[in-house]
Amino acid sequence: MTELGTEPDPDESALYVFAVCDAPDPRVFDCLPGVAEDQPLRRLRFGDLTAVVQTVRAADFTDEVWQVRMSARDELERYARAHHDVVSAAAASCPTVPLPMATLYRSEERARQALIEETGRFRTALERTAGHSEWGVKVYSAELPEPTPTTAPPVPSRVSPAPEASAVRSRPAPGAGLAYLERKRGVQAQRERRYEDSLRLAETVDAAFQSLAAAGRRLRLHAPQAEGKGHVQVLNATYLVAERRAIELEALTRRLRGATGARIDISGPWVPYSFVGEV
C-alpha cells in the first residue's frame, strides 16, 4: 500500500472507498485483495484524515452489474467479505469509520473533494465510537416449537381401511362443536402467550444490554435457523460497548441465560458499523 500520488485516472477506472480512518498502519492491508484483483489497497489523505481506497474497473461497478451481483450469493459474499476484511483491518490499527459497500468516485480528485466536505461527520463518528466496539446479541426462544394445532377428532371414514366404515359413521358426540371452538381458542391463546413471552424475553435481554452499552440498535430478525435445537430468534440487536466494559459482556450473557433459560449468542467485537450512520 502506497500513499496516493497524482497518477491520472483513466476514464474506465473508478475509486472505491472502504473506510475513513485516523492513521492506518499500511502493513495491515498488504495481504488483502480488496475488491479488485490487480490493484493494491491505498491510502488517500484528505485534511488530517485518511481514506482506504482502491482503484477498480468502472465496468465492474455499475448499477446493472450490481443488480446481477446481488442475485448471485457467492459473488455477493465475496464482495461483502472483501469489503468487511479491509474495514476490519483498518480498524485493527486505528479508529475507523466504515463506509457502506460500493461507495465509488470517478476520480481521486472527486473522492478527495467529497471526503473533505464530509470531514465534520467523520470526526463526529470517530469521536462517538472511539474506545468502543459493536457487539451483536441474538436471542432464541427457549420454548419448544408450538405443536401443530390439533384438528378434528379422528374421523372414522378417513382412518379406517374398511370401506363400509363410512356407511356407519356415527353422529358427532354431543358438544363436539363447542369442543372444536374451544380447541381453536386454546391454540390461539397459546400462540398469543408464546408471542407475548417472546416479546418479554426480547425486552428483558435488550434492557440488560442497553444498561451496559453506550447505544443499541435492533436489527431485523433472521429467519429460523435450525441447528437442530428448535430455537426461534426473538431478538437480533447490536450494541456499542466501551472496550473497558466489554469484559462484562460474558458475565451478563451468562446471567441472562440462567435467568431466562433462553439461548443467547453474542458476537464481536465488530467495527461499529451500526453506530456511525446517524452523524
Partner: protein, 111 residues
C-alpha cells in the same frame, strides 16, 4: 494524527472470525456512514436480499425437519396455514352435515 483524542492505543481485531454472511451483510449493506458517491448503485436492503438470495433456505428446510414450523401454522404468516385452517373447518362441517343427513334419513324412514 493527534488532534482527535481518541483515548486508546491498542485496537482489537474487529469482526468475529466466523461471522456468517447475514451478519456481515446486515452491516456492510445498511450501515456505515453514507456519503454521496459519483456512481449510483442501488443496494438492496437486507430484507429484500434475504428473499432474493434465499439466504436461509437451507436452514428453513432443516428447521422444518426439526419440526420448527410455527410460521407455517400461523395464518398471519402463511397463506398455506390459512388455507389449511379453512380446509379443516370445511371437512369438519361436511362430516357433521353428513351425520345430520343420515340422521334425518333414519327419522323419515321411521315415519
Amino acid at each position: 494524527m493527534t488532534e482527535l483524542d481518541l483515548g486508546r492505543e491498542a485496537y482489537p481485531i474487529p469482526g468475529p472470525p466466523n461471522s456468517n454472511l447475514a451478519d456481515i451483510l446486515e452491516r456492510v449493506l445498511d450501515k456505515g456512514i453514507v456519503i454521496a458517491g459519483d456512481i449510483k448503485i442501488d443496494l438492496l436492503d437486507i430484507e429484500l436480499l434475504t428473499i432474493r438470495l434465499r439466504l436461509f433456505v437451507a436452514s428453513v428446510d432443516t428447521a422444518k425437519k426439526a419440526g420448527i414450523d410455527w410460521w407455517e401454522t400461523d395464518p398471519a404468516l402463511s397463506s398455506r396455514a390459512a388455507r389449511n385452517a379453512l380446509q379443516d373447518e370445511n371437512r369438519e362441517l361436511r362430516e357433521r352435515l353428513d351425520a345430520l343427513e343420515s340422521k334425518s334419513d333414519e327419522t323419515s324412514d321411521e315415519r
